[in-house]
């Protein structure tokens, strides 16, 4: 399954980066979204995969049930997911405003439009 995770992460990166190289702001933002998902998978896989118990301590034993998933990458990813939401929402609105003010969402035109 590690191989499968690796491939998935690679595909998300490749598609995300491809979209980030496009000229439309909206496509760039979707690319950022794919890239965030790919990165989350990367961090998740880096902690090691276990298809088993969540890192929640059992009430009965006072111990984690072995094997348990690594809680550290989970905490990192949880933060990343929420921050990613903030980033995407903000950049979307920014792109929307650029589109409204300049009448274009083509990054190659924004410079020339803004100078006018």
């Amino acid at each position: 399954m590690e191989v499968v995770f690796a491939i998935t992460s690679g595909v998300l990166y490749a598609t995300g980066l491809y979209l980030m190289l496009r000229r439309r702001l909206a496509q760039i933002i979707i690319g950022i979204g794919l890239l965030s998902n790919g990165t989350n998978l990367l961090i998740f896989a880096a902690g090691g995969l276990t298809r088993s118990n969540p890192p929640v301590v059992s009430e009965a034993t006072g111990q984690l049930q072995v094997p348990y998933a690594d809680p550290v990458p989970q905490a990192l990813i949880l933060t990343a997911i929420v921050i990613g939401f903030g980033v995407i929402a903000f950049s979307l609105v920014l792109a929307h405003r650029v589109h409204q003010s300049l009448g274009t969402d083509d990054v190659d035109d924004i410079g020339t439009e803004a100078r006018r």
Binding site: G10, L12, T15, G16, L21, R23, P71, Q74
Partner: protein, 762 residues
């Protein structure tokens, strides 16, 4: 008390800015603070250090890093602190009149008090790293003060030059300090001297070279001397304070401080003798060729700093006493002469000695101060400068190394400095009143009291040397490491040294009459300055050539460079450093429904990349998100899965709200560009796959996981380890995160409200 001495100027700095802005006419009373600090230093010296030896205090700062604000006051440190505070008080007093009405007076005062605190920190720090911090702070405040008139390109240039040079010296100090701390096992200067024989330690040579680099740049020794005349772009009170009396002496002070630790070897003594001697001669020689009074004084300062370095190089008890006396004498006459020149400049608008003359009728009190200071600098008997010169000659005469040569260059340099003293202190006041002097008046009171009291102190010390014998002896002990009683006297019989003093006076008289001829010997160009700017210009040309290629103004270009560079570095790291990963126990075998999920994710991602309408792309992105959430469920991360589901839903909502405004995603770039981008993205994606495979299968058990698993129920009182990490162990991060989120939300709100307003207005 010591902490108060060092830290209170930092507290006063913002107060000074406030006073300067609110009551500009009352600024002079700020001088009372350093004056009080001077009394405190004097009190500590007399009642504690003289009786019970050095005093030490320590404030915790960053203890885990070995950083404590440990202050150590011995005679040397307190005499230096006395100079800093006394002259500081006079300079504040003087500047209140010199810059009266200047709109940036508050800024000057702030930097001045910051500098004062930093300088006291240099004098009193026992911890080498704290010393370094204060040292850099003096360089930084000096930068602000040289560049005070920042509308003037020359001032900015000079500030930059001084900053680069002394900043580089500061880095050398840090490196040298690090070496010493490793070699001796202590960060305290006072303990290093007891650490035993360092001279045979393998790092000794490096440590000495690095400390020399720091001291020589700060104290403007050849070949780094050229920044000091440039620094004369600072307002005159600043030149008097930083670039004559205190900061430039920090290098000398550092050498004196390090003598018990590093001194005593041939490398140490010979380098100091050669560098100090050369600097002394070069400075004195250049001084007599200048016509701008401030530059004349700047070069004599260079010469005096060279003389001080030379005396530290000689290293005997006599030389140590001579260095202290010379330093005090120099601070008194040179500080005074700088203030006099400032007063002349203030009243006549020029500092060109060839245009000045006869000012004693118009400015009698300034003239008196100038005459007293010049007499001390020339070395007339009954002035304190005389003692400095006598002891200096005697130190050279009794040196173990090349006494004849040392005495020769000392006499020659002193004679030239004497000429410069007459040029600055007598020339503008005698003779016929020149045209620029016609409308001159006596300077405001605050501008003659300062120089007059400094020059007057020189006379008092000369007539009653008994009052400073004690401090001088204590200060010299800081250099040599052993206390000896000091009795400097005005008259000690007919000695060879007295003969050389007389010879110097004759030479001064002879050379002064030939001063115009000396000026014509001025070299055509100044070498060091060009050497300094040459490499910097070359660096600028390189960036001018490189930047346009990298910064083409196209955001896609930047992204491409970033992607290729990151991917390349990652690939290189994996190929070179990685090797084959050592798989842990066994890989997790995939299950059929997981493979289906993953396929859905990959297909959706590709669909998002190829989508030709915005709605399709958004739905594809959402599918990817939900798919990833399902993966989280399967692999023991319910918290992540829940968060991802909710976030994905809300993301789609926001996309839909915004994308009402966007049109279709038809292709903007050519087929070729798309192909190139697809290849780049594909290759980097493959590198990422390799990375995930590598880190995901490497056999490195996570110790953090075990720690958190152990600590969450016990320390964190919670059974959900992920949540305990978020709200307890790493709560600071979460605090930062929600702040970022809040800022993003406010940003969205503001952007949209501005948009609505624009639409209303148009």
């Amino acid at each position: 008390m010591l902490s108060f001495l060092v830290l209170s100027p930092f507290v006063l700095a913002p107060v000074a800015a406030y006073v300067g802005g609110r009551w500009p006419s009352q600024v002079r009373w700020l001088a009372l603070w350093p004056a009080g600090l001077a009394l405190l230093a004097e009190h500590l010296l007399r009642t504690q250090v003289a009786v019970g030896g050095p005093i030490t205090t320590a404030l915790p700062w960053a203890a885990p890093l070995g950083l404590t604000l440990q202050f150590h006051a011995d005679g040397l440190a307190l005499v230096f602190a006395l100079m800093i505070t006394v002259i500081g008080a006079l300079v504040v007093w003087y500047a209140s009149a010199y810059l009266a009405g200047h709109r940036d007076l508050p800024r000057l005062l702030t930097a001045l008090f910051l500098f004062m605190g930093a300088m006291l920190g240099v004098a009193l720090s026992d911890n080498l790293f704290a010393l370094f911090v204060f040292w850099e702070l003096t360089g930084f405040t000096s930068y602000l003060l040289i560049g005070f008139e920042h509308d003037d390109a020359a001032a900015r240039r000079a500030a930059m030059q001084a900053f680069v040079l002394t900043g580089a010296g500061g880095l050398a100090l840090l490196a040298g300090a690090t070496l010493l701390v490793q070699a001796t096992g202590t960060t305290a200067l006072s303990e290093m001297a007891r650490a035993g024989d360092l001279a045979s330690h393998p790092v000794y040579v490096w440590a000495v070279v690095l400390f020399f680099a720091a001291a020589f740049t700060k104290s403007a020794q050849v070949p780094f001397h050229f920044w000091l005349p440039g620094a004369m772009a600072a307002p005159t009170p600043i030149s008097a304070y930083l670039h004559s009396a205190t900061m430039v002496k920090a290098g000398v002070y550092l050498l004196a401080r390090m003598t018990p630790v590093l001194g005593g070897t041939d490398l140490w003594s010979n380098t100091l003798l050669v560098v100090g001697g050369t600097t002394m001669v070069v400075g004195a020689w250049r001084a007599v060729q200048e016509t701008d009074l401030k530059r004349v004084l700047a070069y004599t300062t260079v010469a005096a700093l060279g003389a001080l370095v030379l005396m530290i190089g000689i290293g005997t008890q006599g030389a140590a006493v001579a260095a202290i006396v010379y330093m005090i004498a120099h601070a008194s006459y040179k500080g005074s002469l700088f203030m006099v020149v400032g007063a002349i400049d203030h009243e006549t608008g020029t500092r060109d000695v060839t245009r000045l003359g006869g000012l004693r009728q118009k400015m009698p009190l300034t003239a008196l101060a100038a005459a007293l200071a010049a007499a001390s600098m020339v070395g007339l008997p009954f002035f304190f400068g005389f003692f400095g010169k006598e002891l200096f000659y005697e130190a050279g005469w009794t040196s173990a190394r090349a006494p004849g040569l040392l005495l020769g260059v000392s006499v020659a340099a002193s004679a030239l400095m004497g000429v410069a003293a007459l040029t600055a202190g007598v020339g503008p006041f005698v003779g016929r009143l020149s045209e620029v002097g016609e409308r001159a008046h006596e300077a405001p009171r605050a501008m003659w009291t300062g120089p007059l009291s400094l020059a007057g102190a020189g006379v008092i010390f000369a007539l009653a040397p008994g009052i400073i014998n004690g401090p001088i002896g204590l200060a010299a002990a800081g250099i040599t490491g052993a206390y000896q009683d000091v009795h400097i006297v005005l008259w000690h019989g007919f000695t060879p040294v007295l003969g050389f003093s007389a010879l110097t006076l004759l030479l001064v008289a002879g050379l002064y009459s030939q001063r115009h001829r000396l000026r014509q010997l001025r070299p055509a160009s100044v070498g060091s300055d060009r050497i300094f700017w040459g490499p910097l210009r070359a660096l600028e040309r390189v960036s001018e050539a490189v930047s346009p290629a990298l910064y083409r103004g196209s955001i896609r270009g930047y992204v491409l460079v970033l992607i290729v560079a990151t991917g390349g570095l990652l690939a290189a790291a994996l190929l070179v450093g990685g090797g084959a990963p050592v798989p842990r126990g066994g890989l997790v075998p995939p299950r059929a429904f997981e493979l289906v999920m993953v396929t859905v994710i990959c297909v959706a991602a590709l669909a998002a990349a190829r989508a030709t309408s915005s709605m399709r792309a958004v739905l594809a992105l959402g599918t990817v998100g939900y798919g990833v959430a399902l993966l989280f469920v399967t692999y023991g991360a319910p918290d992540l899965a829940m968060t991802q589901f909710s976030v994905e839903t809300l993301t789609v909502v926001i996309f839909v709200l915004v994308f009402r405004m966007f049109g279709s995603f038809d292709h903007l770039s050519s087929r070729l560009v798309r192909l190139r981008d697809a290849i780049v993205a594909g290759v980097v994606g493959a590198v990422i796959s390799a990375l995930v495979l590598f880190v995901g299968t490497a056999d490195e058990p996570s110790r953090l996981a075990d720690f958190f698993a152990e600590a969450a129920p016990t320390l964190g009182h919670g059974r959900n380890v992920v949540n305990v990490i978020l709200v307890d162990f790493r709560a600071f991060d979460t605090m930062g995160e929600i702040t970022v989120l809040a800022v993003a939300a406010i940003g969205v709100h503001a952007l949209l409200r501005i948009g609505a307003q624009e639409r209303r207005n148009s």
